[in-house]
Symmetry: C2
Subunit: 143 residues, 2 copies
Amino acid sequence: MSNSNALDIGKVAKETGLPASTLRYYEDKGLIKSNGRNGLRRLFPNNVIQRLALISLGRMAGLSLDEIGTMFTAQGPEINRELLSNKADELDEKIKELSAMRDGLRHAAACPAPSHFECPKFLKLLDIVGKSKRKKRVKSKPI
Amino acid sequence: MSNSNALDIGKVAKETGLPASTLRYYEDKGLIKSNGRNGLRRLFPNNVIQRLALISLGRMAGLSLDEIGTMFTAQGPEINRELLSNKADELDEKIKELSAMRDGLRHAAACPAPSHFECPKFLKLLDIVGKSKRKKRVKSKPI
DNA sequence: GTACAACTTCAAGTCAACTTGAGGTCAAGT
DNA sequence: ACTTGACCTCAAGTTGACTTGAAGTTGTAC
């Protein structure tokens, strides 16, 4: 049997749910590293699974691949605690926004006013949206 | 003075914070309508401001411009209550995910373990991320 | 009456994170 | 030996929501 500490790309793909193309892309970007080759086939160390989970975590937290890359510096997959903390704060912000948004939608869906434009609550929500829009552009980021 | 029920694109831009290019783009897509022209300059009805706020609301709730477009059907800016309700549910989901994520990040940032890979809590978080990754691809959507 | 800032159109460019396609290699099972 | 399917590379395409640029027009303040 082959080295148990070496996964081919198909295994990794099955294990993580990520398509092989994505894994190659991540390797290109330097987010993961293969261990060597069997012929021309990549061999990944076992811990690539964990690392990919970490990448997923970062993506879900709204980090770009580049930001995630900076977390993986020279001495291995060491994590920048400040970056993490900042991201947690940002998430808190976003959660608050989304909660307000959800409440607004919920209300709008239930509101008996014939047109939402006759409903003061809805108008107030729109007003809030308008204001936050004016504060800063919302550059869409992945979730 | 010109008709008080007619804003030129610059006014709308200033009022909403959206660049003129975006407003033209939205008109192209049929999300807003101009009232007519003054020469070749668009004139927008006053209520375009409200409509743009509504569009912003939709965007923030994660709707695509096309989805928002379907909310504005024939008889005016009438709102699809079911769509709204569904989106509210989706937001609830997302809020839960983000909360878990935030807690994870917060913990990771504070955790005294030398490497996060030695911290059981962190490993469990990664595991959760891995599982949710396996459930469904995360196609990034705007926020 | 003229300068010019603000508008116009339309096509093309941008961004991130991938995906797809063409054309090729190769290990393993039958 | 040979088929086959999983792998390879590299360039180009995709998506959505805009932005930018070039080239032209015009309302308005002076």
